[in-house]
């Protein structure tokens, strides 16, 4: 199908975007990579009055490292971050998770911030942001604010972004613990994850992140050596798992029971 008609603006500066947002609010949508947005427009699940293209705003296309954090601008594509030379050393969890984001072809255009702003519960990048306790930088005519992932991610496709705010960047703290593992189960590599599971091991402390079960990424901490199978079974019941055309809640819980311990084991075995 074809999108419903909309007005199109290709912005040159962030100020232009925030001015348009102040005027149009929810009726306007940002076009970054468009890999989720264009699909929603083509299916007419969304009918915005105005699309604001931010791809030609130079200040949004940078990856910067400052104050122990890696800042990724709103126009940076997933494949550009994947090819960033410092990624494996500074953000090994993201290095493990990014190859699962869509396909080679969609990562060429899809942005890191766009995925965070869209906040699909099965997406790898929102899960990574929650795992690494990152933050989101939002700008509007009213000013700039920085929101931690835990407060930004409210639920399925829902975030703390106000209708007049642009996500200008996300920041990932540089990792000190390098033992990581990431796996997911999907119908086809790159499709929406039925579940996505990641782990970061620091000494005998394990941080486990689960996507695709609840409306937003779920993060839990465990200590190695305890009864992990039991703890993960409890977690599976707590998260319940949603039901969709790909899997039942019961199947999601079963997958977590199987994949969870395997991912933790893999992170603990990882040389880092």
């Amino acid at each position: 199908m074809k999108p419903h008609p909309f007005d199109y603006v290709c912005a040159d500066t962030v100020d232009e975007v925030t001015t348009l947002f102040a005027e149009h609010g929810d009726a306007a949508r940002v076009l970054a990579g468009g890999q989720s947005l264009l699909a929603l427009l083509n299916l007419r699940l969304l009918e915005p009055a105005l699309l604001i293209d931010i791809n030609r705003i130079a200040e949004l296309s940078e990856i910067r490292e400052a104050g122990g954090k890696v800042e990724v601008g709103a126009a940076v594509t997933q494949n550009r971050l994947l090819a960033w030379p410092g990624l494996k050393e500074k953000l090994p969890f993201l290095a493990a998770a990014l190859p699962f984001v869509g396909h080679f072809q969609t990562r060429n255009k899809g942005t890191v911030c766009g995925s965070v702003a869209h906040n699909d519960p099965s997406s790898e990048i929102p899960l990574s942001l929650a795992m690494l306790q990152g933050e989101v930088v939002l700008r509007s005519r009213r000013g700039t604010r920085t929101v931690p992932a835990s407060e930004f991610q409210l639920g399925m496709l829902t975030t703390a972004r106000k209708p007049d705010e642009l996500v200008t960047a996300v920041r990932f703290p540089v990792q000190t613990a390098c033992r990581v593992a990431f796996r997911e189960v999907a119908r086809r590599h790159g499709d929406f994850a039925i579940i996505a599971v990641g782990a970061v091991a620091d000494g005998n402390r394990i941080r486990l992140g689960v996507g695709g079960m609840a409306g937003r990424p779920s993060i839990r901490e465990f200590t190695a050596g305890g009864d992990l199978a039991d703890a993960i079974n409890t977690l599976a019941w707590e998260l319940e798992g949603y039901e969709d055309q790909h899997a039942s809640s019961r199947m999601r819980r079963d997958l977590l029971r199987r994949v969870g311990p395997a991912v933790i084991e893999e992170a603990l075995q990882c040389a880092g």
């Binding site: 199908m1 074809k2 999108p3 419903h4 008609p5 909309f6 007005d7 199109y8 603006v9 290709c10 912005a11 040159d12 500066t13 232009e16 076009l31 468009g34 890999q35 264009l38 699909a39 427009l41 083509n42 299916l43 699309l51 293209d53 791809n55 190859p99 869509g102 396909h103 080679f104 072809q105 969609t106 060429n108 255009k109 086809r188 590599h189 790159g190």
Partner: protein, 170 residues
């Protein structure tokens, strides 16, 4: 700031396979439709129109993207490369196309233009890919005829011949 209202048409200029061309488009026109209907280059195929099947994959500034998940407006001033660019002027197939023929990597051919363009970009960046890497990139396409095995063989063989074909077609 460039603004085009929904009922307006605006000129979009691109370099299509090395030739400067332009046509008018309204904001909601997809790049896939622009290429086929406005520029008349029908080698690019349109399948699902929501980024799943990969048929419409083209190179935008040399990078493989879904043209159905791109607006025509976004291509303005940029370089587009489509399947029409692969064979020589005399119709001679390039190395990747020849390998597709050799390994029966296509049957009906509907998905083929997208797959060829994906690997044109991928092989340029990864001249010596592993079989697993080829399969990962191929996961961004759906082929209902071949069962994919022939496509993987063809890409691996074409990758092997990339060096001897250096300076050839993109």
């Amino acid at each position: 700031m460039r603004r085009v209202n929904r009922d307006q048409r605006s000129r979009v200029s691109v370099k299509l396979n090395g030739r400067n061309v332009s046509a008018e488009a309204e904001p909601r026109m997809l790049l896939s439709d622009f290429i086929r209907q406005a520029l008349g280059a029908t080698g690019t195929h349109v399948g699902c129109e929501h980024g799943v099947c990969g048929c419409c994959t083209v190179l935008l500034d040399g990078v493989a993207v879904r043209s159905c998940l791109t607006l025509a407006m976004q291509a303005d001033g940029r370089e587009l490369t489509t399947v029409e660019s692969l064979a020589g002027a005399d119709g001679a197939l390039n190395a990747l196309q020849q390998a597709f023929r050799k390994y029966h990597a296509l049957q009906c051919g509907f998905c083929t233009p997208g797959i060829l363009m994906s690997f044109t970009d991928f092989l340029r960046r990864n001249p010596k890919p592993s079989e697993a890497q080829v399969i990962e990139v191929l996961s961004g396409h759906i082929c209902r005829c071949t069962g994919y095995v022939g496509i993987v063989s063809a890409v691996l063989e074409a990758a092997g011949s990339v060096d001897s074909n250096a300076g050839g077609k993109p």
